[in-house]
Symmetry: C2
Subunit: 379 residues, 2 copies
């Protein structure tokens, strides 16, 4: 609609989401009003849902993509309210702040949560997971694919294979925020049951959408649940709506965020335009280069390098450099970078998002130059 | 940011929301990325929250505005999960499709709902409400200010006064979708405890935001509730976040929809620029004119005229005119108008939204001309 839109120069947002958006994505946010049941919007939403199947590398027609106005956090409610019953046992792999909050959300839905905690900056070892799965019958296991607080990436493929072997009934739930769109995820092949993310992360569209994907058995479990524990977050309500839109029709439960969905369409088109595997390779390369340069500048990475995520970097402030001064100087040079939020390390480190548009537009190199300048000014 | 944005000619969306948006509002949707904790966004969100107090005509510093990524429906979950406990009795005034769904949402949170049903196209008589309030102790009463399915407006002021007299402990909960921004609502003066709406209705910004407002006693009740029945919809989680932003700081629970909040700021500025009472008068006038013309064309209004809403009109298709043909012809002439959704009347009537931008830009007159043409072509 506003395809010739050109965004003005501005401070670059290089945090682990919201990330920077392309001109075409932002232009789509200014799409004039459309009814949620109009043929124009139905076509857009249909395209988004069909293409999300590709983003999740899923071909099972009984699996189901969902896009609902909200945020990534809403996806936790969806999992808790639809896939679990009171007193169900859930094994939570804790790799940082966000796994912790996920556990809290599931407890609101009266799940009994067992937590296995990874060392800070590392992932939970497979043998520990196996031990737990053998000791107890879990209704679900939750894996935070990329924990945005520590910038570690868990090996979902290996963990899923272990679950399938030891406890195949256990639902595999993946928090894919900062992963889906940047880290490889094979929904069907790995046997994932539920994965969630948000629009403003590696999917490259403005904040405002909760995006989630359910396997055939997760959908069935949700549809068969006698009484979902939420109304807005009810998969029973949303499943027929998503099926209708994907089939080229309209249906109503709650008004979708038309402009945000339209922007997400443009962003997913850009992602699939390059191809998923090529996109992962681009991010891998950009991430490796950035991490190497950060280390060359004398900064220590927070995560064990072997399990470092590819869409963001967490690093300690250099010795003798005051954190707020460092972040403040970067802001005056035109970059927003995030502080740390892991409870054990808060104030000691910073986080840089290098996902999507910023990787393709050279923002990462510009940020590196600004970091170098900042360090020389502060030392 | 994109203040010179000019939207292209397009089919006009004249349904009871999403409504048409001004160029400035749509331009704000294309605001380049900002971090949710950036000083730029904090200032925007602070402004929105401060100005929402004016929109709700509320000056009580202990009352609290909230803006959360979601839709109007999410506001029902917020009411159910935070203000009610299991088996609490709630009196629902049923004026159509939306009151019905509100009741269903509250039942998910295990409220015991008593329903008083209005005749189709009318409101619930005060004496019936009084009878119920005297017979039973209700924790809350819900009023759908404007039922979008029948286009009737309930007299919230009078109902609230009755509740205060007969059962002052009963919380007064108002569904203000299609009302807040177009119908007068005096949150403090009438003693409302909770009112909710969505961005794409009379507030004039794109869909994607749940907007709600809680009285001091509603906030206290939510904060004192031992275990909110939802995570994303938890007022315990959101209250400190909203207080932080309104106070000019940032806090994190879930990422706000930055661009949508920025657009809402522009829209609220436009609303307050004219002044609320002047805005109500403009809509009253436009609504009266439109309804008179519709009647002059031989169409019968669905609501009793004395209780007809001012932001939309529901009217029966004229005798001998096929509904889908009528709506289809209007679409080819460049207007999206909504079909009916009230169970008893579906297929027999249509609904036109005349709120905000369309009222000020002459869209209502253009639609009237198209309706006249359509009728002459179909008869």
């Amino acid at each position: 609609m506003a395809s010739n839109y050109k965004q003005p120069e501005h401070k670059l947002t290089m945090i682990p989401g919201p990330i920077e958006f392309s001109d075409a994505v932002l232009g789509a946010m200014a799409t004039p009003s459309q009814a949620h049941t109009s043929p124009e919007f139905v076509k857009t939403f249909q395209n988004v849902l069909q293409n999300l199947r590709k983003v999740f590398k899923s071909t099972d027609p009984e699996a189901q993509p969902y896009v609902v106005a909200g945020s990534g956090t809403l996806g936790w409610d969806v999992a808790g309210a639809n896939l679990l019953n009171k007193n169900d046992k859930v094994l939570v792999l804790l790799t940082g702040f966000f796994s912790d909050s996920f556990a809290e959300a599931l407890q609101v839905y009266e799940a009994q949560v067992d937590v296995v905690t990874a060392p800070v900056g590392d992932v939970v070892p497979l043998d520990q997971i196996e031990l737990h799965l053998k000791k107890e019958k879990y209704t679900a296991i939750t894996i935070t694919h990329v924990d945005t607080s520590t910038a570690v990436v868990s090996d979902v493929g290996k963990i899923a294979a272990l679950v399938k072997k030891v406890s195949p009934e256990t639902l595999i739930i993946v928090d894919g925020v900062c992963s889906i769109g940047v880290e490889n995820i094979e929904f069907d092949k790995w046997g994932i049951d539920f994965a969630l993310t948000a629009s403003q992360k590696a999917l490259g569209a403005p904040a405002g959408l909760s995006v989630f994907y359910a396997s055939s058995r997760a959908v069935q479990k949700a549809l068969n649940k006698e009484k979902p524990a939420a109304f807005f977050a009810s998969m029973k309500k949303w499943t027929p709506i998503m099926k209708a839109y994907e089939g080229g029709g309209a249906a109503y439960f709650a008004t979708p965020a038309i402009q945000n969905v339209t922007a997400l369409k443009v962003s997913i088109d850009e992602i699939l335009g390059q191809g998923l595997d090529a996109r992962y390779a681009t991010h891998d390369e950009a991430s490796t280069k950035f991490k190497n340069e950060i280390e060359a500048l004398g900064m220590k990475l927070v995560p064990n390098k072997e399990v470092a995520a590819h869409g963001l970097t967490a690093a300690y402030f250099p010795e003798g450099v005051n954190g707020p001064d460092f972040l403040g100087k970067l802001a005056t040079k035109g970059f927003t970078v995030a502080g740390g939020i892991h409870k054990a390390l808060v104030g000691k480190y910073f986080r840089v998002g290098h996902m999507g548009y910023s990787v393709y537009e050279g923002h990462v190199d510009r940020l590196l130059a600004a970091i170098k300048e900042t360090l020389s000014e502060l030392k």
